[in-house]
């Protein structure tokens, strides 16, 4: 497992757990949780600077862009135009062409508008962006996103922040078989076993925010997620035994009295 590195668009990542930076109590807690999680990819949002309260601390004072891959998202965008605008602003504010592209369909489910997603992805790829799309657990859409040039796809496990775990493992498995790029299961993880399961199914990475930040003890959950993702990956690589209906004795009968 020493060389089990995740590579997306020529970039190598150490950690298969990616984390969001929203919903924490403060930046100190954000920083600690990320450190404990071992994640080296962190997502951020792009928003207006608070110009009336300049004493406000900056997230990047706590999350060193030299140490972490900063993955800006287009969170909160419901149209192709907005998503493209935010992606361009993210590139202008940041240091890379990476973007986690979100085009949302509705406020209640926060499910992706996959039509809009494909359209926005096409525009941004043409402009040189490395587009990592937050998408539905739909194998056809995943394939289309890869066909237009996305170097990875990020299908949801369940609605954002719902903590429901993987709602449709069979679709995720079909996506993993259908596309030949890394799959990052994004959103909907509730606890460690959900993350382990995603990795056991063959996901290349898991991205989460609320499951850690919203836990009673975010730092402890960050640690749990680190082990869950690692264990799930090891189990996937090790290859599980087939399920059988009846028992198979583990101890030999030979030599019994």
């Amino acid at each position: 497992m020493h060389n089990d590195r995740l590579v997306i668009a020529g970039r190598e990542f150490k950690s298969r757990l990616w984390v969001g930076t929203g919903k924490y109590k403060d930046f100190a807690e954000t920083k600690k949780a990320i450190e404990v999680s071992g994640a080296d990819v962190v997502t951020v949002a792009v928003r207006r600077v608070n110009i009336t309260d300049r004493s406000k601390e900056n997230l990047l004072d706590f999350i060193d862009p030299k140490k972490y891959t900063i993955l800006p998202n287009t969170a909160g965008c419901y149209t192709v135009e907005d998503a493209v605008r935010y992606a361009r602003l993210a590139r202008a504010a940041g240091v890379s062409d990476l973007v986690k592209l979100e085009v949302l369909g509705d406020e209640k489910t926060l499910f992706p508008d996959t039509g809009g997603l494909i359209e926005a992805a096409k525009i941004l790829i043409k402009e040189g962006f490395i587009v990592l799309p937050y998408t539905n657990d739909d194998p056809i859409v995943a394939k289309k996103l890869v066909d237009i040039g996305c170097p990875a796809v990020m299908p949801l496990a369940a609605p954002i922040g719902s903590g429901l775990g993987i709602r449709n493992p069979y679709n995720l498995k079909i996506i993993m078989e259908t596309v030949k790029v890394p799959i990052v299961v994004d959103a909907g993880v509730g606890t460690a076993s959900d993350a382990a399961l995603a990795m056991e199914y063959g996901a290349d990475a898991v991205l989460m925010n609320t499951a850690i930040a919203g836990a009673q003890d975010p730092i402890a959950m960050a640690e749990a997620m680190k082990y869950a993702v690692h264990a799930g990956r090891l189990a996937y690589k090790a290859g599980r035994i087939p399920r059988k209906l009846y028992a198979t004795a583990s101890s030999p009968i030979e030599g019994m009295l």
């Binding site: 919903k23 990047l60 998202n73 969170a75 959103a187």
Partner: protein
């Protein structure tokens, strides 16, 4: 001394000296240029442009940077109204 210009910065009215550039505005706001993106009348500026682009009355400036975020809507974040005006 020329009259100050009135511009909009992140949706709020603000006076700035005549002849001021985007770079001057950022320095006045005590913002580190390497951490912000600036949109001037919907045009996203390269950082190298900040000191070259002069401001004129009625300009609409948006200054953005990275904040904590994960999912599409974290509830407490301030949305940037894109088509509001």
């Amino acid at each position: 001394m020329a009259e100050p210009l009135q511009i909009q910065v992140n949706g709020e009215s603000r006076d700035c000296p005549s002849g001021a550039t985007v770079g001057d505005l950022l320095r006045d706001l005590d913002l580190k240029t390497e951490r912000v993106a600036v949109e001037l009348n919907l045009e996203i500026l390269d950082r190298q442009e900040f000191d070259r682009r002069g401001l004129k009355a009625g300009d609409r400036v948006e200054i953005l940077s990275f904040i904590g975020g994960g999912g599409p809507d974290d509830g407490w974040i301030r949305r940037v109204p894109t088509h509001a005006q």
